[in-house]
Amino acid sequence: MNSVNSAAAASKVTTSKSRRRAPIDKAGYLFIAPGYLVYFAFIFIPLLVGLYYSFTNYNFYSTPAFVGFDNYVRLFHDKLFGTAVYNTFIYSLFSIFPQMALGLLLAVLLNGKLRGRLFARVSVYIPNVTSMVAVSMIWLWIYDPSLGILNRVLKTFGLAPVQWLYDPSTAMAAIIIMGIWKSIGYTMIVYLSGLQSIPASLYEAAHMDGATKVRQFFAITIPMLKPTTFFILVMSCINSFMVFEQVNILTNGGPLNTTTTIVHQIYLRGFQDFQMGYASAMAMVLFVITLLITLLNFRLGNKGNDTDVD
């Protein structure tokens, strides 16, 4: 223990000295080169192209004509798009926190030596691994008003059956539940790998000091997981804002437009109505929203640079 502390102390001294003449790791550029180039070519440039399209009336075929801010003005007055934005926020709000909390809980529980740990880990992860199409179709059955499991269970308890996907007041909840179920495995895995980087020595020391497991969880695990939590939060925000596939398969945006989302609208306007310019404008708006939220996360999470570095 002490050797680590003194090494850390020593390194702090050296760091502040060397900062005055901070050596530049030119190798850094080389390291990021392949990844960055691929990213630049296949994501950044298409993004710029999309930005360009958003100022045109591109329909996939004819030469696009410049229309200035028309698409954005139209977006502003588009009630359907407004509904989609609202729905997307609702979905994100109610799916992010349960999925993170449950994922963390399961990761902690399944980290120690437990009988059947492997079985539990695999079971929790399988939903994430099955394609959205297969998962959606299974849940279509589960939610079936007359034959579905959920309603049968309700029936045995004497409760009235719920129309789930066909009731405007429950459709979004049904989609959220499925979304959480599918994503818990994802957060669990990232938390599991984050848990590996917490030195066992910390827990041992706390145990010797007489801390209970619960106390250890709140005093050691959660703080040490900050970078991981930050990462999951950012990714969950971004992913839930892009929710699309399950909406497309389960409800197609209905009933009464209670489940349409931003990406669903982009898909419909772009690929059904051929209005790629308009759809690109929507994509830009989505991008700005996600950017703002990510910036917010970065500000609150202190750039995710929490531990021992720089």
Binding site: F60, G254, P255, Q272
Partner: protein, 435 residues
């Protein structure tokens, strides 16, 4: 020293890998795509069809084999794409990049949009010289016509006929051989046949979709003498009194709970083939599938033409053959289309796939083959109408379906739904008509 080594190794590996990848990739695949005619008159024709089911695949494999045999030096590259927006996406990517197929088997709903964009090639120059043209049913030729020019040749019709469960009719005390002949009778029968468990309907008297209901709704509007849209003036006509009357009829039935909520765009929710409806407007394919999946119902399903109220009308989809305007093998493409449209192949399609015939000369044989069903189907094909031929049809029907849904969920009256839908369409039109 070590730095340069690492750098060199990385570079070499990357370059080698990409060469290897592109080599194995392009050698077996892109050459297949390349339609440039090579030496010795080797020609390649690309043919895509929407739909991935096995029976039709077997059909096309045979047709292509025979075509290649009778046209030495010609290779047909066949590709299948799933129906729906997937196909739209793929076609958009293809036309945008100039890689669209020479011949395409696709839906009626795509005609207006893609003909207008100039993606489909007008076929009049070819059909005028084709002696098979006069044999094609007039309604079928019309489906492929847009603004006076022929862009597609319809070859697989998908009309909606009236299907009913004779066993359920009997059990309810109705004559199993007499389907409802008027709207009033239909409503009465449907109410009688509906079975509920508490407040939930478990057997629909009449299968009415509650989401994407426009195909069902259109049949009733047309039967009542209403119209959908004036294609030349781009004016909605579905807020007329006839149309509102038809809408009211449907909404009343839904509110009485004679249907189970379902989305017509999701083929797996189709009530009749799932055994959840007593009467339905559905395609002949549903008739076949229901008996296939429920063998106990063989012979217990009735088929008849749709109810005639003021006019004979029903919804009829169509699959057509289109030619790409970017094609470099237009003559060959039309030859292929001709083969598919021949009397022989049309009859083969009926025998192998059960699809209705589109040629006048085959009418008698077709009806004689299964009189109890095929007469109704043939009639439905001749007066059936598909999606309105305007470039913004998908958006228009989206608007109509959503307002219908609102009426079904009792948030507005049928009349209000139609008026609101027409108003919304009028507001959107300037955005939709850009080319």
């Amino acid at each position: 020293m070590k730095k340069r080594k690492a750098l060199l190794t990385t570079l070499c590996v990357t370059v080698l890998a990409s060469i290897a990848l592109s080599a194995c990739g392009s050698s077996n695949a892109t050459e297949q795509l390349n339609p440039k005619s090579g030496e010795g008159g080797n020609k390649t024709l690309t043919f895509w069809r929407a739909g991935t089911d096995a029976p039709e695949k077997a059909y096309w494999t045979r047709v292509i084999q025979e075509f290649e045999a009778s046209h030495p030096g010609v290779k047909v590259n066949y590709s299948e794409v799933p129906f729906g927006n997937d196909m739209e996406t793929k076609l958009n990517a293809a036309y945008a990049s100039g890689t669209a197929p020479d011949v395409l088997s696709y839906t009626l709903a795509s005609v207006a949009q893609r003909a207008n964009l100039g993606q489909y090639e007008p076929l009049d120059a070819y059909t005028d010289k084709w002696d098979g043209k006069s044999d094609v049913m007039e309604s079928v030729l019309n489906t492929g016509t847009y603004k006076g020019k022929v862009y597609g040749l319809g070859f697989i019709p998908d009309p909606r006929v009236l299907l009913w469960r004779k066993d359920l009719f009997e059990a309810a005390g109705l004559d199993p051989e007499k389907p409802p002949a008027s709207w009033e009778e239909l409503a009465k029968d449907a109410e009688l046949l509906t079975k509920k468990d508490g407040n939930t309907t478990v057997m629909a008297g009449l299968a009415i979709p509650t989401a994407n209901a426009w195909t069902f709704w259109q049949s009733f509007v047309l039967q009542n003498g209403g119209k959908i849209i004036d294609a030349d003036k781009n004016e909605p006509l579905f807020d007329s009194s006839e149309s509102i009357e038809a809408t009211q009829y449907i909404v009343d039935l839904v509110k009485k709970g004679i249907t189970i909520p379902n989305d017509s765009a999701k083929s797996n929710e189709n009530l009749f083939p799932n055994g959840k409806a007593a009467i339905a407007y559905d395609s002949p394919a549903a008739y076949v599938n229901t008996q296939k999946d429920h063998p106990e119902l063989a012979g217990k399903i009735g088929v008849s033409g749709p109810i005639e109220r003021k006019t004979k009308a029903t919804f009829a989809g169509m699959r057509l053959l289109f030619m790409s305007s970017q094609s470099k093998q237009k003559d060959l493409a039309f030859e292929f289309m001709q083969t598919v449209m021949s009397k022989e192949e049309t009859w083969n399609r009926y025998k192998e796939l059960g699809t209705p015939v589109v040629l006048n000369s085959l009418k008698d044989d077709y009806i004689k083959d299964k009189p109890e069903m095929n007469q109704a189907v043939f009639d439905a094909v001749s007066y059936g109408e598909g999606a309105a031929k305007v470039t913004y049809s998908s958006k228009m029907y989206e608007i109509i379906s959503q307002h219908l849904e609102a009426a079904f969920y009792n948030t507005k009256t049928a009349e209000q739904a139609m008026k609101d839908a027409a108003a919304e369409l009028k507001k959107e039109l300037p955005n939709l008509i850009t080319n």
